[in-house]
Amino acid sequence: MPLTTCLIVDDSRIIRKVARRIVEAMGYEVDEAADGAEALTYCTGAMPDVLLIDWNMPVMDGLSFLRRLRALPDGRRPKVLFCTIETHPDRIAEALAAGADDYVMKPFDGEILQSKLEEVGAIAA
Protein backbone atom coordinates (compact mmCIF):
# COMPACT_ATOMS: atom_id res chain seq x y z
CA MET A 1 0.00 0.00 0.00
CA PRO A 2 1.43 3.41 -0.94
CA LEU A 3 2.15 5.63 2.02
CA THR A 4 -0.55 8.24 2.52
CA THR A 5 -0.15 11.51 4.34
CA CYS A 6 -2.09 12.88 7.29
CA LEU A 7 -1.96 16.39 8.74
CA ILE A 8 -2.99 16.75 12.37
CA VAL A 9 -4.21 20.27 13.15
CA ASP A 10 -4.56 20.85 16.88
CA ASP A 11 -3.19 23.45 19.30
CA SER A 12 -2.62 20.80 21.95
CA ARG A 13 0.76 19.15 21.63
CA ILE A 14 -0.51 16.21 23.68
CA ILE A 15 -3.52 15.59 21.43
CA ARG A 16 -1.27 15.81 18.38
CA LYS A 17 1.05 13.27 19.93
CA VAL A 18 -1.77 10.86 20.80
CA ALA A 19 -3.41 11.20 17.39
CA ARG A 20 -0.05 10.85 15.65
CA ARG A 21 0.64 7.58 17.38
CA ILE A 22 -2.76 6.22 16.31
CA VAL A 23 -2.61 7.23 12.64
CA GLU A 24 1.06 6.32 12.27
CA ALA A 25 0.16 2.82 13.41
CA MET A 26 -2.32 2.72 10.51
CA GLY A 27 0.52 3.43 8.10
CA TYR A 28 0.18 7.17 7.55
CA GLU A 29 3.04 9.58 7.18
CA VAL A 30 2.13 12.30 9.67
CA ASP A 31 2.76 16.03 9.94
CA GLU A 32 1.45 18.47 12.50
CA ALA A 33 0.15 22.04 12.57
CA ALA A 34 -0.73 24.01 15.71
CA ASP A 35 -3.45 26.21 14.21
CA GLY A 36 -5.49 26.81 11.06
CA ALA A 37 -3.15 29.39 9.56
CA GLU A 38 -0.18 27.07 9.86
CA ALA A 39 -2.24 24.26 8.34
CA LEU A 40 -3.36 26.44 5.45
CA THR A 41 0.23 27.32 4.60
CA TYR A 42 1.11 23.63 4.73
CA CYS A 43 -1.78 22.66 2.44
CA THR A 44 -0.99 25.28 -0.21
CA GLY A 45 2.46 23.67 -0.40
CA ALA A 46 1.51 19.99 -0.30
CA MET A 47 -2.03 18.69 -0.01
CA PRO A 48 -2.31 15.83 2.50
CA ASP A 49 -4.64 12.86 1.90
CA VAL A 50 -6.28 13.09 5.31
CA LEU A 51 -6.68 15.85 7.88
CA LEU A 52 -7.69 15.70 11.53
CA ILE A 53 -8.86 19.18 12.52
CA ASP A 54 -9.57 20.60 15.97
CA TRP A 55 -12.19 23.34 16.33
CA ASN A 56 -10.93 25.88 18.85
CA MET A 57 -7.44 27.05 18.06
CA PRO A 58 -5.65 30.41 18.22
CA VAL A 59 -4.91 32.48 15.08
CA MET A 60 -7.36 30.58 12.82
CA ASP A 61 -9.95 28.15 14.14
CA GLY A 62 -10.72 24.79 12.58
CA LEU A 63 -13.97 25.77 10.91
CA SER A 64 -12.45 28.83 9.17
CA PHE A 65 -9.53 26.71 8.08
CA LEU A 66 -11.81 23.96 6.75
CA ARG A 67 -13.76 26.46 4.61
CA ARG A 68 -10.53 27.95 3.23
CA LEU A 69 -9.14 24.47 2.63
CA ARG A 70 -12.17 23.38 0.63
CA ALA A 71 -11.82 26.51 -1.53
CA LEU A 72 -8.21 25.70 -2.46
CA PRO A 73 -7.41 24.04 -5.78
CA ASP A 74 -7.46 20.30 -4.98
CA GLY A 75 -8.86 21.23 -1.56
CA ARG A 76 -11.89 18.98 -1.91
CA ARG A 77 -9.78 15.88 -2.34
CA PRO A 78 -8.53 15.23 1.22
CA LYS A 79 -10.71 13.39 3.69
CA VAL A 80 -11.36 15.55 6.72
CA LEU A 81 -12.25 14.39 10.20
CA PHE A 82 -13.22 17.16 12.58
CA CYS A 83 -11.97 16.13 16.04
CA THR A 84 -13.21 18.30 18.88
CA ILE A 85 -14.77 18.41 22.32
CA GLU A 86 -17.90 20.07 20.90
CA THR A 87 -20.77 17.58 21.19
CA HIS A 88 -23.79 19.78 20.49
CA PRO A 89 -25.72 18.47 17.45
CA ASP A 90 -25.88 21.97 15.92
CA ARG A 91 -22.12 22.31 16.09
CA ILE A 92 -21.59 18.86 14.63
CA ALA A 93 -24.00 19.66 11.79
CA GLU A 94 -22.20 22.96 11.20
CA ALA A 95 -18.85 21.25 10.79
CA LEU A 96 -20.32 18.64 8.44
CA ALA A 97 -21.99 21.37 6.39
CA ALA A 98 -18.67 23.20 6.14
CA GLY A 99 -17.18 20.19 4.40
CA ALA A 100 -15.99 17.75 7.06
CA ASP A 101 -16.38 14.13 5.92
CA ASP A 102 -16.98 12.95 9.45
CA TYR A 103 -16.85 14.24 12.98
CA VAL A 104 -15.08 12.80 16.00
CA MET A 105 -16.06 13.82 19.52
CA LYS A 106 -13.18 13.95 21.97
CA PRO A 107 -12.12 11.93 23.77
CA PHE A 108 -11.60 9.29 21.11
CA ASP A 109 -9.47 6.18 20.83
CA GLY A 110 -7.76 4.20 18.10
CA GLU A 111 -10.80 2.05 17.39
CA ILE A 112 -13.03 5.07 16.81
CA LEU A 113 -10.50 6.81 14.58
CA GLN A 114 -9.92 3.64 12.60
CA SER A 115 -13.65 3.08 12.13
CA LYS A 116 -14.21 6.70 11.07
CA LEU A 117 -11.35 6.58 8.57
CA GLU A 118 -12.74 3.36 7.15
CA GLU A 119 -16.19 4.90 6.96
CA VAL A 120 -15.00 7.86 4.87
CA GLY A 121 -12.98 5.52 2.68
CA ALA A 122 -9.57 6.86 3.72
CA ILE A 123 -8.43 3.35 4.59
CA ALA A 124 -9.63 -0.04 3.44
CA ALA A 125 -12.15 -1.63 5.76
Binding site: T87, H88, P89, I92, A93, L96, D102, Y103, V104, M105, P107, F108, D109, E111, I112, S115, K116, E118, E119, V120, A125
Partner: protein, 271 residues
Protein backbone atom coordinates in the same frame (compact mmCIF):
# COMPACT_ATOMS: atom_id res chain seq x y z
CA UNK B 1 -9.80 -18.86 42.28
CA UNK B 2 -8.72 -22.48 42.48
CA UNK B 3 -8.50 -24.80 39.45
CA UNK B 4 -11.49 -26.62 40.95
CA UNK B 5 -13.47 -23.36 41.04
CA UNK B 6 -12.62 -22.80 37.40
CA UNK B 7 -13.72 -26.32 36.43
CA UNK B 8 -17.04 -25.71 38.13
CA UNK B 9 -17.39 -22.35 36.38
CA UNK B 10 -16.76 -24.06 33.04
CA UNK B 11 -19.52 -26.56 33.79
CA UNK B 12 -21.91 -23.83 34.92
CA UNK B 13 -21.29 -21.78 31.78
CA UNK B 14 -21.65 -24.76 29.44
CA UNK B 15 -24.80 -26.16 31.03
CA UNK B 16 -26.72 -22.92 31.53
CA UNK B 17 -25.45 -20.67 28.75
CA UNK B 18 -23.89 -23.15 26.32
CA UNK B 19 -20.81 -20.98 26.70
CA UNK B 20 -17.35 -22.39 26.25
CA UNK B 21 -15.22 -20.83 28.97
CA UNK B 22 -11.77 -21.67 27.71
CA UNK B 23 -8.87 -22.10 30.10
CA UNK B 24 -7.10 -19.01 28.80
CA UNK B 25 -9.95 -16.96 30.24
CA UNK B 26 -9.24 -17.90 33.84
CA UNK B 27 -7.61 -14.59 34.65
CA UNK B 28 -10.31 -12.68 32.80
CA UNK B 29 -12.93 -14.58 34.79
CA UNK B 30 -11.23 -13.65 38.06
CA UNK B 31 -11.12 -10.02 36.94
CA UNK B 32 -14.77 -9.93 35.84
CA UNK B 33 -16.03 -11.59 39.02
CA UNK B 34 -14.34 -9.05 41.31
CA UNK B 35 -17.09 -6.43 40.83
CA UNK B 36 -19.79 -9.10 41.19
CA UNK B 37 -18.31 -10.19 44.53
CA UNK B 38 -18.20 -6.58 45.75
CA UNK B 39 -21.73 -5.85 44.55
CA UNK B 40 -23.10 -8.97 46.22
CA UNK B 41 -21.29 -8.25 49.48
CA UNK B 42 -18.57 -10.92 49.46
CA UNK B 43 -15.03 -10.32 50.71
CA UNK B 44 -13.55 -11.66 47.48
CA UNK B 45 -14.15 -13.90 44.47
CA UNK B 46 -13.23 -17.07 46.42
CA UNK B 47 -15.89 -16.34 49.03
CA UNK B 48 -18.46 -15.65 46.32
CA UNK B 49 -17.72 -18.91 44.55
CA UNK B 50 -17.59 -20.96 47.78
CA UNK B 51 -21.10 -19.77 48.52
CA UNK B 52 -22.28 -20.25 44.95
CA UNK B 53 -21.34 -23.95 44.90
CA UNK B 54 -23.50 -24.68 47.96
CA UNK B 55 -26.74 -23.45 46.43
CA UNK B 56 -28.90 -24.07 43.37
CA UNK B 57 -28.35 -21.72 40.44
CA UNK B 58 -30.44 -18.64 41.16
CA UNK B 59 -29.85 -14.90 40.93
CA UNK B 60 -26.26 -15.14 42.18
CA UNK B 61 -25.49 -17.88 39.68
CA UNK B 62 -26.93 -15.82 36.85
CA UNK B 63 -25.00 -12.72 37.97
CA UNK B 64 -21.84 -14.82 37.66
CA UNK B 65 -22.87 -16.23 34.28
CA UNK B 66 -23.66 -12.77 32.90
CA UNK B 67 -20.33 -11.38 34.04
CA UNK B 68 -18.48 -14.10 32.12
CA UNK B 69 -20.27 -13.72 28.80
CA UNK B 70 -18.56 -11.76 26.05
CA UNK B 71 -20.42 -8.43 25.82
CA UNK B 72 -18.33 -6.86 23.08
CA UNK B 73 -20.34 -5.23 20.32
CA UNK B 74 -20.46 -2.06 18.30
CA UNK B 75 -22.55 -0.35 15.65
CA UNK B 76 -22.59 -1.99 12.22
CA UNK B 77 -19.89 -4.41 13.29
CA UNK B 78 -17.89 -5.58 10.24
CA UNK B 79 -20.08 -3.31 8.03
CA UNK B 80 -20.49 -5.77 5.14
CA UNK B 81 -23.42 -7.76 6.58
CA UNK B 82 -25.29 -4.54 7.30
CA UNK B 83 -24.61 -3.33 3.79
CA UNK B 84 -25.90 -6.60 2.32
CA UNK B 85 -28.94 -6.39 4.61
CA UNK B 86 -29.67 -2.77 3.69
CA UNK B 87 -28.91 -2.80 -0.03
CA UNK B 88 -29.90 -6.33 -1.04
CA UNK B 89 -32.23 -7.97 1.45
CA UNK B 90 -34.33 -5.08 2.72
CA UNK B 91 -35.57 -3.77 -0.64
CA UNK B 92 -36.53 -7.31 -1.70
CA UNK B 93 -38.18 -8.13 1.61
CA UNK B 94 -40.03 -4.84 1.97
CA UNK B 95 -41.61 -5.26 -1.46
CA UNK B 96 -42.42 -8.96 -0.95
CA UNK B 97 -43.98 -8.72 2.52
CA UNK B 98 -47.48 -7.44 3.20
CA UNK B 99 -47.35 -3.68 3.88
CA UNK B 100 -43.56 -3.82 3.76
CA UNK B 101 -43.41 -5.34 7.21
CA UNK B 102 -40.01 -6.88 7.91
CA UNK B 103 -39.34 -8.77 11.14
CA UNK B 104 -35.75 -9.16 12.31
CA UNK B 105 -34.29 -10.91 15.33
CA UNK B 106 -31.03 -9.77 16.87
CA UNK B 107 -30.15 -12.97 18.74
CA UNK B 108 -27.47 -12.34 21.33
CA UNK B 109 -27.80 -8.56 21.07
CA UNK B 110 -25.63 -7.69 24.09
CA UNK B 111 -26.04 -3.94 24.75
CA UNK B 112 -28.13 -3.31 21.64
CA UNK B 113 -25.85 -1.73 19.03
CA UNK B 114 -26.65 -4.45 16.48
CA UNK B 115 -30.41 -4.06 16.97
CA UNK B 116 -30.21 -0.28 16.47
CA UNK B 117 -28.05 -0.78 13.38
CA UNK B 118 -30.69 -3.10 11.89
CA UNK B 119 -33.48 -0.68 12.78
CA UNK B 120 -31.68 2.33 11.28
CA UNK B 121 -31.17 0.42 8.04
CA UNK B 122 -34.83 -0.56 7.91
CA UNK B 123 -36.24 2.88 8.65
CA UNK B 124 -33.69 4.37 6.25
CA UNK B 125 -35.15 2.47 3.30
CA UNK B 126 -38.73 3.09 4.43
CA UNK B 127 -39.50 -0.48 5.49
CA UNK B 128 -41.91 -1.19 8.33
CA UNK B 129 -39.19 -2.80 10.34
CA UNK B 130 -39.72 -4.57 13.65
CA UNK B 131 -36.66 -5.67 15.55
CA UNK B 132 -36.81 -8.15 18.36
CA UNK B 133 -33.57 -8.28 20.31
CA UNK B 134 -32.67 -10.82 22.96
CA UNK B 135 -29.72 -11.54 25.17
CA UNK B 136 -28.98 -13.85 28.04
CA UNK B 137 -27.61 -11.02 30.14
CA UNK B 138 -30.18 -9.06 32.13
CA UNK B 139 -27.69 -6.24 32.66
CA UNK B 140 -26.97 -5.99 28.93
CA UNK B 141 -30.70 -5.94 28.19
CA UNK B 142 -31.28 -3.22 30.77
CA UNK B 143 -28.55 -1.09 29.25
CA UNK B 144 -29.98 -1.68 25.76
CA UNK B 145 -33.47 -0.72 26.93
CA UNK B 146 -32.15 2.38 28.67
CA UNK B 147 -30.53 3.17 25.34
CA UNK B 148 -27.83 5.43 26.74
CA UNK B 149 -24.45 5.22 25.02
CA UNK B 150 -21.23 7.02 25.90
CA UNK B 151 -19.30 9.08 23.39
CA UNK B 152 -16.96 6.14 22.87
CA UNK B 153 -19.80 3.68 22.32
CA UNK B 154 -21.87 5.85 20.01
CA UNK B 155 -18.90 6.66 17.77
CA UNK B 156 -17.69 3.10 17.40
CA UNK B 157 -18.97 2.13 13.96
CA UNK B 158 -21.37 5.05 13.54
CA UNK B 159 -20.60 8.08 11.39
CA UNK B 160 -21.64 11.50 12.66
CA UNK B 161 -24.43 12.08 10.12
CA UNK B 162 -26.09 8.79 11.00
CA UNK B 163 -25.61 9.49 14.69
CA UNK B 164 -27.28 12.90 14.39
CA UNK B 165 -30.14 11.52 12.37
CA UNK B 166 -31.08 8.74 14.78
CA UNK B 167 -29.69 9.70 18.19
CA UNK B 168 -30.02 12.67 20.50
CA UNK B 169 -27.71 13.84 23.27
CA UNK B 170 -28.70 13.42 26.90
CA UNK B 171 -26.14 15.17 29.06
CA UNK B 172 -22.88 13.40 28.20
CA UNK B 173 -24.54 10.45 26.50
CA UNK B 174 -26.60 9.63 23.42
CA UNK B 175 -29.92 7.82 23.11
CA UNK B 176 -32.10 6.70 20.20
CA UNK B 177 -34.71 9.15 19.01
CA UNK B 178 -38.30 7.99 19.61
CA UNK B 179 -38.92 6.91 16.00
CA UNK B 180 -35.93 4.57 16.27
CA UNK B 181 -36.62 3.45 19.84
CA UNK B 182 -40.17 2.38 19.03
CA UNK B 183 -39.24 -0.26 16.46
CA UNK B 184 -36.92 -2.25 18.73
CA UNK B 185 -38.04 -4.55 21.53
CA UNK B 186 -35.47 -5.86 24.00
CA UNK B 187 -36.16 -9.03 25.97
CA UNK B 188 -34.00 -11.27 28.10
CA UNK B 189 -33.84 -14.69 26.51
CA UNK B 190 -31.73 -17.83 26.43
CA UNK B 191 -30.97 -19.13 22.94
CA UNK B 192 -30.91 -22.65 24.36
CA UNK B 193 -34.53 -22.47 25.54
CA UNK B 194 -37.42 -23.67 23.44
CA UNK B 195 -39.11 -20.72 21.72
CA UNK B 196 -41.78 -19.31 24.05
CA UNK B 197 -44.04 -18.34 21.16
CA UNK B 198 -44.44 -19.18 17.48
CA UNK B 199 -43.20 -15.83 16.16
CA UNK B 200 -41.01 -16.11 13.10
CA UNK B 201 -38.54 -13.79 11.49
CA UNK B 202 -37.56 -12.78 7.99
CA UNK B 203 -33.94 -12.22 8.97
CA UNK B 204 -31.95 -13.37 11.98
CA UNK B 205 -28.66 -11.85 13.07
CA UNK B 206 -26.83 -14.26 15.37
CA UNK B 207 -23.32 -12.92 15.14
CA UNK B 208 -20.34 -13.82 17.29
CA UNK B 209 -22.42 -16.11 19.47
CA UNK B 210 -21.57 -19.49 17.93
CA UNK B 211 -17.85 -19.03 18.21
CA UNK B 212 -18.06 -18.94 22.01
CA UNK B 213 -20.54 -21.78 22.10
CA UNK B 214 -19.80 -25.17 23.57
CA UNK B 215 -19.71 -27.57 20.56
CA UNK B 216 -22.30 -29.83 22.19
CA UNK B 217 -24.79 -26.93 22.31
CA UNK B 218 -24.34 -25.50 18.86
CA UNK B 219 -26.82 -27.85 17.22
CA UNK B 220 -29.50 -26.94 19.74
CA UNK B 221 -28.91 -23.27 19.11
CA UNK B 222 -29.03 -23.75 15.34
CA UNK B 223 -32.24 -25.78 15.58
CA UNK B 224 -33.79 -22.91 17.53
CA UNK B 225 -32.75 -20.40 14.87
CA UNK B 226 -34.07 -22.64 12.12
CA UNK B 227 -37.46 -22.93 13.83
CA UNK B 228 -37.74 -19.16 14.16
CA UNK B 229 -36.74 -18.33 10.59
CA UNK B 230 -39.31 -18.20 7.79
CA UNK B 231 -38.57 -20.59 4.95
CA UNK B 232 -37.33 -17.88 2.61
CA UNK B 233 -35.50 -16.05 5.40
CA UNK B 234 -31.82 -15.27 5.90
CA UNK B 235 -29.41 -15.83 8.75
CA UNK B 236 -26.32 -13.71 9.39
CA UNK B 237 -23.46 -15.20 11.37
CA UNK B 238 -20.27 -13.47 12.50
CA UNK B 239 -17.44 -12.77 10.06
CA UNK B 240 -15.31 -15.64 11.32
CA UNK B 241 -18.11 -18.12 11.98
CA UNK B 242 -18.96 -20.94 9.59
CA UNK B 243 -21.28 -23.91 9.68
CA UNK B 244 -19.38 -26.86 8.38
CA UNK B 245 -21.00 -30.24 8.58
CA UNK B 246 -22.72 -29.58 11.88
CA UNK B 247 -26.17 -28.82 10.56
CA UNK B 248 -28.24 -29.69 7.55
CA UNK B 249 -30.60 -26.83 8.32
CA UNK B 250 -28.66 -24.03 6.64
CA UNK B 251 -26.50 -23.56 3.60
CA UNK B 252 -24.14 -20.65 2.91
CA UNK B 253 -24.94 -18.08 0.21
CA UNK B 254 -21.96 -17.99 -2.10
CA UNK B 255 -20.17 -14.68 -2.35
CA UNK B 256 -21.88 -13.37 0.80
CA UNK B 257 -19.67 -14.27 3.71
CA UNK B 258 -21.59 -15.09 6.87
CA UNK B 259 -24.97 -15.19 5.10
CA UNK B 260 -27.00 -18.40 5.28
CA UNK B 261 -30.39 -19.54 4.01
CA UNK B 262 -32.39 -22.63 4.85
CA UNK B 263 -31.26 -25.78 3.11
CA UNK B 264 -33.89 -27.54 0.97
CA UNK B 265 -34.08 -30.37 3.52
CA UNK B 266 -35.33 -28.01 6.22
CA UNK B 267 -38.17 -26.62 4.12
CA UNK B 268 -40.31 -29.64 4.99
CA UNK B 269 -42.65 -27.49 7.07
CA UNK B 270 -43.78 -25.69 3.95
CA UNK B 271 -45.03 -28.93 2.40
Amino acid sequence: MTPDDFDKLQTLMASRAGYRLTRDRMQLAEHRLGPVARREGYANVEALLANLWTQPVASLGWAVIEALLNPETWFRRDRTPFRVFEKELLPALASARPEGRVRVWSAGCSTGQEAWSIAMAGLGVGARIEVSATDLSQRAIEKARGGLYTGFEIQRGLDARTMLRWFEPVEEQWRPRPELAQVVQFTRGNLLDEPADDGRFDVIFCRNVLRDMDPSRRTRLLDGLEQRLVDDGCLFLGADETLEGETVAFRPVSGRRGLYVKAPSSLRRAA
